[in-house]
């Protein structure tokens, strides 16, 4: 499992920039069957949060309709240089975290 994020390195103050994220995760809905007809146990990503300088940009409360390898893109307003923190949590309790630095000029 891995995380792929796309964050610009530099932005102008006040600029609105796109952030793209993808977590490699089966995001198992509990609706899918294997070759023997048995259901794969459900384990979806229920929460995705991105913060910027400790302040929330977006929080996803997610259900089974999100695809495997959950992809999210959204926009943040660049205010000051700081850290973007990304956090995903699944139903098994696993937490996936990544950070990126944004320089505001």
């Amino acid at each position: 499992m891995s995380v792929r994020i796309r964050v610009p390195k530099i932005a102008k103050k006040g600029e609105v920039v796109e952030i793209r994220t993808l977590l490699e995760h089966l995001n198992e809905s509990g609706w899918r069957r294997d070759e023997e007809g048995k259901l794969y146990p459900r384990n979806i990503i229920t929460t995705f949060v991105c913060t910027y300088g400790g302040i929330e940009v977006i929080r996803g409360d997610l259900r089974r309709g999100i695809s495997r390898n959950p992809y999210f893109s959204f926009w943040l307003r660049a205010e000051e240089s700081g850290e973007l923190a990304f956090r995903w949590q699944d139903e098994s309790g696993a937490v996936f975290e990544e950070t990126a630095r944004l320089e505001v000029v």
């Binding site: 609706w31 409360d61 999210f72 959204f74 307003r77 205010e79």
Partner: protein, 165 residues
């Protein structure tokens, strides 16, 4: 990436019951070709919307849903929701909801837009159990709601999702 906590998410085959094997394999194909649960009805969608809006009637305005008109499979259909909003502290979109009227669970996700969100636009990929309308619902900071929908034709539904190893 930092990771913590248990991970039980795996595609490994398990619990193969030898006695039932022959029969199970024979019926596997037809089982995969239909949804495991009955598709949601219009009533489920309306109930899901009511649960979000607490009875406030959403207006069909200000929201745009982008999705392909035809998706070969329903496993990961790209959806982009854009809401007209200045996104100022006083007048902003507080949340965007994506609802799939024919899925066993219509609400796919809610995206709460925080103070650092600069534009009311969210994109993701969704599972689709049937050709259907994708609905987006925007909750505004003044308590009002706006909505829009777009139809997506799906050739192969998400329940036939196969392992990609």
């Amino acid at each position: 990436m930092k990771q913590s906590g248990p991970v039980r998410n795996t595609t490994t085959r398990r619990g193969f019951v030898a006695g039932a094997a022959a029969g199970a394999v024979a019926v596997a194909a037809p089982v995969l070709l239909r949804a495991d649960k009955a598709a949601a009805t219009q009533g489920d969608l309306e109930a899901a919307i009511r649960a979000i809006t607490k009875g406030v009637r959403p207006k069909e305005d200000r929201v745009k849903v982008d999705a392909p008109p035809l998706a070969e499979t329903g496993t990961a259909v790209p959806v982009t929701v854009t809401v007209e909003s200045a996104m100022t502290a006083q007048d902003r979109v507080s949340a965007i909801y994506i609802l799939l009227e024919q899925n066993p669970e219509p609400e796919a996700g809610a995206f709460h837009l925080g103070p650092r969100c600069g534009k009311a636009e969210v994109a993701t990929r969704v599972r689709m159990f049937a050709p259907q309308k994708v609905h987006a619902l925007a909750a505004m900071s003044d308590g009002s709601f706006f909505t829009a929908s777009v139809h997506v034709e799906v050739t192969l539904a998400a329940c036939v999702e196969i392992d990609v190893k």
